[in-house]
Subunit: 353 residues, 4 copies
């Protein structure tokens, strides 16, 4: 069984210092404590509890606009349900060739949408430029022989650690709007993108034209709940039926909702992201000449060469990146990466000079 | 939006004593503590952690046979992924007309399987008899015009609180086996069914011919993780790809796996189920002449009439059952139903005599 | 390979006189000649030819109202595409338990709709009564846990040869309309139903509340094209994308469209159906005491008993009907059933008295 | 309704001489006559007729090996059913970025496969080289996070008129075989590719490693039937269930099968393709310096510039090709393109010099 074998292969010895991904992090105490506090007596199931009921208000305040918010169990589910709600099976979602929805979700968007196609766009930093977006759109014709562009999905921060500014988002959403397309943002690391810029969550989402946001919590201190945020309530459509049908409506909804509200209300969304970004900045600064991507958030990409990668791998856990032989590596800092692990990595990188 | 409105309608005032469902229960302390203990430092994501790694062994011991076990976030996902792995899109799953997979999952089995049909069988207690199973099978012909029977799914305990004995399961699985069909058991309340009988988990599952079991944890003290248990490792097939593709592979897998292992190792699977069954037995004994189903596990069905239902509803939260006007009601006890709530319900029922 | 073997098993010796189905009939000369006449020089593909362009007008005249008409290659495709256009994946189509879409299309509706469930209703003559329709609807609740009733599909004439009157259709469509559901009619034998009554095609379809009709041509003299007729152009929605995506948009569209227009304009729709019904009436009259269904169109159902079935099978090709041991048989006359075959069958049936 | 409007937009005035596509051609007399001859009395439906029964033998002789052959109503259905049979939903089909299955089937492969992804490869002439194939494969990793490469699909002749030699096919199929992948060939213009080379149908298909072939008939003289040819009978799997479920099993199977057998037995497959290729060769020779692709079959690609395209469009029907502003045009000759139309086009092209 290839999948099983592959999973086992992931199990490595843990003595190394970890920079593989922010998904290896633990859960913030604030969230664990809030779960404990909610664990008190009966609560109606399937979202009819007071924690779930508070979601729209808490997120509405965070985003400074009325929103509809839904809890799901994974980022893959968040992305796929958002796309399935707004893209018909014969539609296509334009996205970057390195997007998580294309590369790392085993075809979940195609599964949830009933076979909508992802149409790929290249571009530095895993970002889509207006020019590339427009050029890709030129391939589609308004007849039944081809799929029809209905959505664009961008990632904030991107899979290569870059960020979109409000103006950059607006440039894309304007093009989309003109074509009758909607805009999805994969915000698995949205908090990291917010704290890396001087803009508010609102400015980086709906004010710039985003219709639906996969709002990431797990990588930044959550346990097992992400949020799907609709900025235009009229776009929610049949989302709730699709969520239930996907087995993504939590039975004991309070334990999902309380993670989301605590994440915002306790301020850990900002504190955790700031710490992760700050640590990553130290890593980037340790060997700036090796950076293969401009540093922006909590991911650091370096062109190390295969030999250095092999050497560093003895002490540090991280992923070689890109196709075999590229010599590139990715280091990710998370909200709970030990400071001494960063010290050690910086020292090792400085020795490479 | 009909769905949203319906969800809101679920929010009722909570001062009533709750017998609506075991899914309103809280999480057992053992599980919360185990989650806290696992929240320590980094762990590889997506199931490559030591808690996930222990799943097969812990469940293998529980079931006295080698098994393959997979964590998912809901019973709906457990059922649907199990069916999708073993039933092709052009196949059909025979099941009871009142089965959860037919009535309460918004078509999730059809979604996950790519459109496999559920073919329904009636029967008292939401149980399938060998005779009814055989009669239903007679409708299918081995040609391309009709869907082909590939699985049978039974619920243990059933949606009407009944249980299958090992002999009853075997009678069905023998018929299935002869037709080349596999056997799925929806064990959302498997623990309640086990403690209600003198048989072991093994005798009530694989020894009686069950191929794959949706093993329920959430209703009986878990937080948000269920298990899919394959008793024949060669049947696992592409389950892992399907799970990932459904957004059901937990990012931080340790928080899912530890719920499952703790549930078995701490013994709460038995202790919680015994308590729930015991409390329900008290409810059933309070008005035995009103029982509309023989009492067996932690669900009690009574024919009260609409007036008594209205009267009881002022003090107790429970569901009228069946079609409108049936006058039937369902009371469910959970692992944490307060003893005084049961006292009060029993007293109220006794006053009905 | 079970399917292949089953197909082969269908190949029987042909010397018998055929009453198996109207799908064993040949193609009417009018249609073959029209195909030949259209086979002249170039014509734009994919429906941009003048024959395809005429479809809406020709059918509009036939139905006395503006319509949108689409050619597809099979009745299964017609039904499934109509349902997929009007029923979301989380919806359900209420239909009779013996409906062709449930029993004879290998799950095509589930495939095309993305897993919408068919919810079954019993009833004599394979007909749905308003009472049974209403009772079945009572099972569904407007929350996300269950599929939502979005369509009802009735067959005209039914799978047991019965017909719906305009009043009967209206009674069902009124109920549907009130629930926000649309009405599909499987008219594989629509012409037989029309000529069996004193009502017009309009009275038996849109005037009685039908939204979309699978208009059968193949069984009544066509070659390989059926029509999907939308009576409300605003309901067409994304039908054309779905048709293309299903491989059901004919490349050389003229050879499809010309079958449809010729079928109506030549009058063979009526002439062929009248002949088939007339022959079937003779069969029914030969043994009226054996009829297991009231006679109405071109199908005759008789309770013969297994011995008589075996005896008749030596000379006549027909299907035993219903579950094994029912002793029922179906005889179908088609537009080209030889008169002498009917003579022989009538004589044989009369000998049974 | 965008699709409908688009379809209408296709309707152009026909006085122009047509080089748009070989799908505007009529049906060969041999096929019409064979259909007429088959239109004689009753024949069992759904492929249980003697014409359908002959398919395997007739194609087996043509390909010099035992095959399993299935009739479907379109090339889109042929391709999609072939892929769905051999590629699981979580698999991916590697194919050229300009492949018909990617660009011109409105997502049909995704629909039929249940959401399998097409992974695209660039390359001159719409051909895939072994180097590009290997490079694209390097992106996939054997774990559950990404789709798994299970098939490669190549087009013969390609969407830019090029052909694969047996050695070129073998080079690709060897790579596929090593990875456990199967090989699909979209042979919408297979006959044109065969007559353009000195190799046999066997050498250009199974002998070079092709597992399943979409065998095109419609563009080269057929009416509305294509064939799916499995060279390894053990690969047929559940194809027949999938075909029925897609509404692609013809009711009156004889009219489908007889097109396929006549196409081969009458020799029109070769005669028609030779004529189409010969005429196209004349077009190519009329302005060889303008060719934007090497000439090989019945499609001619020229870099004309937008002004010349506009000028020629007054007299000739053809498609501008590629993205807007490319200045490229495609001329296709079919089996029945009038010789004088080619004379006129050649003269016009020569005047461009």
């Amino acid at each position: 069984m290839p999948a099983a074998q592959a999973t086992r292969a992931y199990v490595e010895c843990l003595p190394v210092r970890f920079f593989k991904s922010d998904n290896t992090a633990a859960v913030s105490d604030e969230i664990l404590r809030a779960i404990g506090a909610a664990n008190n007596g009966a609560a109606l199931a399937y979202g009819a509890d007071r924690w779930s009921d508070a979601l729209d208000a808490v997120f509405g305040e965070f985003f400074e606009t009325p929103v509809r918010v839904f809890a799901v169990s994974s980022g893959t589910a968040a992305n796929s349900l958002a796309l399935a709600t707004l893209c018909p099976p014969w539609g296509t979602v334009l996205t970057h060739a390195e997007a998580h929805i294309e590369r790392d979700e085993c075809g979940a968007p195609e599964f949830f949408t009933g076979g909508a196609k992802l149409s790929l766009i290249d571009g530095a930093g895993a970002k889509i430029t207006p020019e590339d977006f427009t050029a890709r759109l030129a391939w589609f014709e308004p007849h039944v022989h081809g799929v029809q562009p209905r959505m664009v999905s961008i990632t904030q921060a991107t899979e290569r650690g870059a960020i979109y500014s409000p103006d950059e988002i607006r440039a894309l959403s304007d093009i989309a709007r003109e074509r009758g397309m909607t805009v999805h943002m994969d915000g698995a690391r949205f908090a990291n993108a917010v704290v890396a810029q001087k803009f508010s969550p609102a400015e980086l989402s709906w004010k710039a034209g985003v219709d639906v946001l996969s709002f990431g919590v797990i990588k930044n201190g959550g346990m097992n709940t992400e949020a799907v945020v609709f900025f235009d309530p009229t776009r929610v459509g049949d989302f709730e039926f699709r969520r239930k049908r996907a087995g993504q409506l939590a039975c004991k909804g309070r334990y999902a909702a309380v993670q989301l509200t605590t994440y915002l209300e306790s301020g850990i969304w900002r504190r955790n992201a700031e710490r992760a970004n700050r640590l990553a900045a130290r890593v980037a600064a340790a060997a700036p000449h090796l950076l293969s991507e401009p540093f922006a958030t909590n991911q650091v990409f370096m062109r190390l060469g295969d030999e250095r990668i092999a050497a560093l791998s003895k002490e540090f856990g991280f992923y070689p990146w890109g196709p075999a032989g590229s010599g590139e590596a990715r280091f990710v800092c998370s909200w709970d990466t030990p400071e001494e692990d960063v010290d050690a990595l910086c020292a090792a990188l400085e020795r490479l000079r």
